[in-house]
Structure formats: C-alpha cells, structure tokens
C-alpha cells in the first residue's frame, strides 16, 4: 500500500506524524499524573509506530501514473477491516453492560470495569468505531464511483481514516480511566474533540474536492446524504463541545453552557447525532448499495428530494423531545414535539422509496441474504422512525421517558437499521474492493442474517416489555393516592427482560463474528477467481461537465 503513495505524500505523512508525536510528547509532559498524560503517551506511540511504517517504504520507487486509472480503494479496505474489529469490540462491551444489568457483580470490583465506564465504551465503540468507520469506508467508495473521479490525493484519506481511529482509541481508553464530559455521545474531552475537528475538516475537504472534479453532471443522492452527514456533524460537534479546559495539563474541562441551556445544547446535539450520523450517513449507504445490489432504478427521484430536505430541515428542531416535562420551557418542548411528528413523513418517504425500489427484485430479496439485510434495514428504519415520532408526543413520552422503552427504540434503530444496512453494504463492498466474484460463503451471510434478525427482535421485544412495565409501575397509584410500587420493585420486575436482552445482544455479536470470519476468508481469497468489472474506473481525460445539481 505504501508503494502507491508518491514520494511527496510519503514525506508529508512523516512530517505530519512528527508533528503529532511532538504534540503527544507535550501532552505527556504537561499531563504527568493526569489521564491526558497517558493519552499523550498513546499519541506518541501511535505516531512513532506509523513513522517507522512510513520509513520502511520511504525509498520505494515512485508509483506509476497508471494508478490514476483506478479508484483509490486502499483506505476503504482498511476501513472495512477496522469497521468489523470495532463491531466486535463495541458489541462485546454491549453484551457485557447488558449482562451487568442482569448480574451486577460482573465488574470484578475494578473501577475501570464499572458500569459507568463500560457503557460509553460500548456506545462510542459501536456508534463511532463501527458506524463511523463504516461511513468513512463506504463514503470513499461511493463518492468515487458516483463521481467517476478518483480521490483527490492519497494522503488525506489515510489521515481521515487513521486520525479518526486515533480519536476512537482516545475516547475508549479515556472512559476506562474515568475521563468524560458527561455528555451523552460527546463524552471525550477537549483535546480529543479538537483532534476530531481537524480530522473532520479534512474529510469534508476530500468530499468537496472530489465532487468538484466529478465527471458526472449531477451529484447522486447518496452524496447529498454523506455530505449532510459530514457537514452537520461538524457543526454539532463543535458547538456542543465548546468548553474551557482546567489547564493544558488536565483532561478535565468545563462546558461553555450550563443549566437548561446545557441540556438543550446537548440534546440538540444528541438527537441530530442520531439524525445526521446514524440516519443521514447510512441513508447515503442505502441509496448506493441497495439499488446496486437489486439492480433496480431508484423508485422515485422526486421522493428522494423531498425526503432529503424534509429530514435535513425537520430533524434540527426535534432535539427538545428528549427533555419533555423538564425545566426546559414548554414552548421549546412544543416545537420539538410537533416537528418530530412532521418528521415522520419524510422518514417514511425514504423508507418507502427504498422498499419500492425493490419492486421487480423481490425474488432477489428472497434468495440473496445481502439484499435482505438491506431490505430489513429499510423496514426497521420505518418502524423506528414511527416509534420515535410517537414517543415524541408528550403524553406518550410521560410513559416512555426514562424507561427501557427508550433503550429498545434506540436499538431498533441501531441494530435493525444502522447495523443491518452496514452489514448488507459491506457484503457488497468487500468482493468489490478485493476483486472477488462474491463473498466466501453465502451460507454464512444467511446465518449472520438470521442471528442479527433474531438478536434484534429479542432485544427490542424485551425492552418494549420491560419499558412499558416499568413506566406503568412507576405511575400506578393505589386507592389511597400513593404509589403502589417502590422503584426497587420495578427493578426486580426488569430482571427477566434484562437476561433476554443480554441474550439478544449475544446473538447479534455472534452474527458480527460470523460476518468478520466470512470477510476474512473472502479477503484471503479462498475459492473464487479475481474479477474486475471493466467500468469500475475513473474517467481521467474528459473535461468535467459540471452542472448544478437539481
């Protein structure tokens, strides 16, 4: 892979890595005795290791100009592998925290293994580690194909991919040490946040630079979604993480917001992270891999447009539905609730657009587990968005809020939608990237599909039951007008559901492991002949025919 880089790119990498190592050294020195010092050390080790890798290939011959006749897929390949590693890590921690809720003694009495520290390792591991790597890997692939242009250079994609994973490692290791901003999905502290901003700006630049050089007159809808994802996540991340560090030698910082403003900013961020990270980005994935696999045209271009703008506009308002019946002024809650309801229409329009695209390909859905993954994802997307809008209604929320119903809702989306669409896409992507005719084993995809579906269904049903039961127990009064159940009784009632949930999660994890094995075997190239579709190449010499996107 190194031989592909030009000597200029190799030198640039080394310079950047040296800079990073120096920053890491400064962090380690200034933060002795503080977690930031440990993180400085991690940065130094990672940068120096990469410097050695780069030096080993520094004097390799200059790559031939022929490389420009191919798409640049090496970062996507590494991205796919990282995706599967993070999937297994993140889901393993998920099963662990789920088991902890059923059997609280599984912490081994160690601080790092307490629930409060493991939980963000799970959430960040699956959302950022698994989801984020999947988005980066697929976005590079889709961007080049649908623009018929190669990525603008060979340094920045690596910077984005590896820099992003460094962020994920800093996040997870920080949680073990107790580093957290106490903001959900925005737990990493200020220095990790700054680093992510740098990485993200480069990511956005790659997108813009490639699109600017595109050889297709129009920008494909998948790219709108990926762009919305990158752009809005940048805004959300920067605003929600505004904070003042205690000092440059301390991991701890204080948020720029306080009180109800802090809560509102956090949930504006939190809900739009669901919208633009976990929905928009993955819709981009769906809009490419689903029609590609089905071999069908997108059902309706016009539906794509109205749902794209509907989703983008409406989601921005919905965050306050996370704060119903709190100190947040009621008018803000009203806006959050009403926009959440309107949001259902474009959400269902997207899901419907995907499912209607399968018209004429339903026999493939039956036979091909990869396509079935994507079909099921679209169904879960529809279900989850319906549930979300429903739970945003204040009286419904009065029952559902703070219960496991919320957890079930999140996982209907995270497992049913995000993970299923990712696995489906990856099963399309892997043979394409490694030039194989197909995946190593279609049977194993089938096994993975059923493990994933049954895991999700068990999980979601367990949480619906336990959530609604919990909500009802908390609001049941006896005839004297006092509460019938104490909190601890509701905990006892949850126990069987918590066991079921851990089991569902375990099935899902087993599915991810099966998938990883299948991918590994495909990469190692057992069985099939190499395959190179003739049209899978960028157009080099034509002048761009750029027109505004409609």
């Amino acid at each position: 892979m190194l031989a592909q880089l030009t000597s200029g790119e190799r030198q640039l990498s080394i310079v950047v890595l040296i800079l990073m190592a120096m920053v890491g050294l400064a962090m380690a020195a200034a933060g002795r005795g503080d977690p930031i010092g440990v993180h400085g050390f991690i940065v130094v080790v990672a940068s120096v290791a990469m410097i050695f890798v780069m030096l080993s290939g520094l004097y390799a011959p200059e790559p031939s100009a022929e490389r420009l006749d191919h798409y640049y897929d090496d970062p996507s390949k590494v991205g796919v592998i990282l995706t599967m590693i993070w999937a297994m890590v993140g889901m393993f921690f998920g099963v662990w925290v789920a088991s902890l809720l059923a059997w609280p003694d599984l912490t081994f009495d160690a601080a790092w293994a307490s629930f409060g520290r493991l939980r963000p390792v799970h959430t960040s591991g699956v959302i950022f580690g698994f989801g984020g790597n999947a988005l980066i890997a697929t976005s590079f692939h889709v961007l080049q194909r649908t623009s018929r242009a190669r990525l603008p250079d060979q340094f920045s994609p690596w910077f984005v991919l590896l820099g992003y994973n460094l962020f994920c490692v800093l996040a997870a290791t920080g949680y073990f040490m107790g580093v957290t901003q106490s903001k959900e999905y925005a737990e990493p502290e200020w220095y990790a946040d700054i680093w992510l901003v740098i990485v993200w700006v480069v990511y956005f630049a790659i997108y813009i630079r490639t699109l600017a050089r595109r050889k297709e007159p129009h920008i494909y809808v998948a790219n709108w979604y990926y762009m919305a994802f990158i752009l809005v996540v940048a805004i959300l991340h920067i605003v929600n993480n505004l904070a003042v560090p205690v000092s440059f030698g301390h991991a701890k910082s204080y948020s720029a917001f306080s009180g109800v403003q802090d809560a509102m900013t956090q949930w504006w961020y939190g809900h739009n992270a669901v919208a633009f990270f976990l929905t928009s980005g993955f819709l981009g994935m769906m809009y490419y891999y689903l029609p590609k696999r089905a071999g069908r045209p997108i059902y309706s271009y016009r539906l794509s447009i109205i749902s794209f703008w509907g989703i983008t506009f409406m989601y921005m308002w919905a965050g306050s539905h996370h704060l119903h019946y709190t100190a947040l002024p009621e008018w803000v809650q009203t806006l959050g609730m009403t926009f959440s309801l309107v949001l259902l229409v474009p959400s269902w329009a997207s899901a419907g657009n995907a499912l209607a695209t399968l018209n004429g390909a339903w026999h493939k859905v039956r036979d091909d587990a990869t396509l079935r993954f994507m079909m099921a994802a679209a169904v879960f997307y529809g279900l989850t968005t319906f549930e979300g809008s429903f739970m945003a209604i204040r009286p419904v929320n009065a029952l559902s809020h703070y219960t496991d119903w919320t957890v079930g809702h999140v996982h209907a989306g995270a497992l049913g939608w995000v993970a299923l669409i990712t696995f489906g896409s990856i099963y399309c992507l892997v043979p394409a990237l490694w030039k194989r005719e197909r995946m190593y084993s279609a049977k194993l995809i089938e096994v993975h599909f059923w493990l994933a579906i049954s895991g999700t269904v068990i999980y979601v049903f367990a949480m619906w039951n336990s959530g609604i039961l919990q909500g009802l127990m908390w609001r049941t009064y006896n005839e004297n007008g006092t509460l019938t159940y104490s909190f601890i009784e509701s905990m006892v009632a949850m126990h069987p559901y918590y066991i079921a949930r851990a089991f569902g999660g375990l099935l899902f994890l087993l599915g991810a492991i099966t998938g990883s094995y299948n991918i590994l075997m495909t990469i190692r190239g057992h069985s099939q002949a190499a395959l190179q579709p003739s049209d899978d190449a960028p157009q080099r010499n034509l002048a761009p025919v750029a027109q505004p996107a409609e």
Binding site: E216, P297, Y301, E330, V342, L344, T482, T484
Partner: protein
C-alpha cells in the same frame, strides 16, 4: 428535465441520469405523502395555536388554552394532596395506639409504608426489612434505641451517628486495636459473649476461657451492654444474648467487632420525609415485627 428510458417493471421513465449503473425513476411523489404531510403540519399548526409554542424575544406565544406545564403540575400536586388529606390528617391527629387499633388505617399504613420503605430504606435494611451485615433486621424487634412508636419516630427524625444536630450517637469502642484489652482477654470476652445464647456453637468453647471472659466483660462492657448483656437503650447498645446480630455472631465477626469497634450510620429523615411519612414508616416498621417484644 431530460427524459430517459421507460422501466418495464413500473412503467415509469427514468430521469436519464446514471451513476455507476444506478438510475432513478421519475415517479411522481405518491399523493399519500402530501396527504400525511398536510395532516401533520395541520396538527402542528393547531397545536401551536393552542399551546405555548413560538419564542417572541423575551416572551413566547402562550397558546389559546392557556396551559402551562408549571401551573399544571402545581395543580396536579395540589389535587393529589387534597385527595390524600382525607386520611393523612387522621394519621397526623390520631395517636399511635388508635391507629394501630383501626384496621382501615393500618391498611393504608401498610400500603403506603411499603412503598416508602422500598424507596428510602430498603437499600440498607433490605426489601423485606430483614437487614444484612451492618444493617439491623427490623422485623426482629427494634432494640437498639427502643421499639415504642415514639422512639422509632425520633430515631427516624434524627438518625444515628448522622449529621443531624440532635442525632443519636453510639459507638462500640475498638477494645483490641486501642489496647484496652490484650489479645487473650479479647479471645476470652469473645468466647463469653458467644456463650450467652446468641450462637449455636458458643458453648463449645473452653469453659475456662468463657469464665475469664465474664470478668473482662464485667470490667469493660456492662456500662453499655448492661449487667445481663441485654443491651441498653439509652446508649444504643445491642442485646448480645439473642441470635439477632447486626455484624454477625460467628467467631470471626464478633472478634472483629470487639477488636476494631463499630459505629453504624443511619441517615436522618427530617428534611427528606414529611412528619406524616415518618409516622407512617414508624408504624409500618412496627407492623413488620415477627417476634413479640
């Protein structure tokens, strides 16, 4: 708009664009989408008119219904309190014996006390109030400070070794660690204490050791635990002759207690629970008693 080819399956035309083999149909947006869009927006607009909705600088549109979550919640709380006052007033006014003699009142005490206990006390005393190591079993009699309702009420009000200015204070001294007694005396007094009836194997110990322990006990312990070792309510010292142990009656636990001392902590509830709630709890705790005192 360029018009592409016609799709045989749906009969729709494509937009004429193609990206890496992907085409798009020019299918019109189904009418139902606009219908639902209109319905949800209509609902939203009606809701905005009726409820607090849009910010206007320093204020906001209040909505025609004049509903506001703060006043609604205040009203709900007031109504609920009013509804309960039918019996809370009785609890406040009646004396303990009268309530205990009235089955309908005791039913309320048990129902309400059960939840209050689960939410406030079970974390330490257990859901069934049977205690655990370090936390007394309340179903076996309230014997540290006394089991009449007034005393329990006071214990709840001020706590034990708590931060309340009037807190009940008690301490089991660290006889071994502070060198008040030597290790032989320690072993003897432990053997003696364990022979008083609180354990099944207490009399298996060496009779000489037990006899020596009795002397140690007389010199050091009776001030708090009493001549008969049955405890003293005014200093919160427990009865050592029953099999109801806070910290455990096995050799190891009793030795640890006498060597290192103990000082249990029970929070005070004056600020956290209302007088009515505390009265209910005192009655509830008493109602749990299995053994008559």
């Amino acid at each position: 708009m360029e018009i592409g080819e016609r799709d045989p399956v749906t009969g729709q035309v494509t937009t004429g664009h193609e990206w890496n083999g992907i085409k798009e149909l020019y299918t019109p947006v189904p009418r139902i989408v606009f219908f639902f869009l209109a319905t949800t927006i209509l609902f939203a607009v009606c809701y905005w008119v009726l409820m607090p909705a849009w910010p206007l600088g320093k204020t906001y549109t209040k909505g025609l219904l004049g509903i506001d979550q703060k006043t609604s919640v205040d009203r709900l709380v007031k109504d609920a309190t009013l509804e309960r006052s039918a019996w809370t007033q009785k609890i406040d006014q009646m004396d303990f014996a009268a309530i205990q003699a009235d089955p309908s009142m005791m039913k309320i005490v048990e129902e309400t006390g059960h939840t209050l206990f689960g939410d406030n006390c079970a974390a330490c005393h257990g859901t069934k109030a049977t205690g655990g190591p370090g936390f007394p079993n309340l179903t076996a009699g309230i014997r540290l400070w006394g089991g009449d309702p007034k005393t329990i009420l006071e214990t709840l009000r001020v706590g034990i070794n708590s931060t309340h200015p009037d807190t009940r204070t008690s301490q089991m001294l660290a006889f071994g660690r502070d060198g008040v007694i030597d290790s032989k005396q320690l072993a003897d007094v432990v053997a003696y204490v364990r022979s008083l009836g609180g354990t099944t194997d207490g009399l298996d110990a060496d009779p000489q050791s037990i006899a020596a322990g009795q002397d140690v006990f007389k010199q050091n312990c009776i001030a708090c635990h009493g001549d008969d070792a049955k405890g003293k309510r005014d200093v919160g010292a427990p009865d050592l002759t029953d099999n109801n142990w806070i910290y455990g009656g096995d050799l190891q636990s009793v030795t640890t207690t006498v060597y290192g001392g103990r000082q249990g902590y029970m929070p005070h509830w004056e600020q956290r629970l209302s007088a009515t709630q505390r009265k209910i709890l005192a009655l509830y705790v008493l109602s749990l008693r299995k053994v008559p005192q």
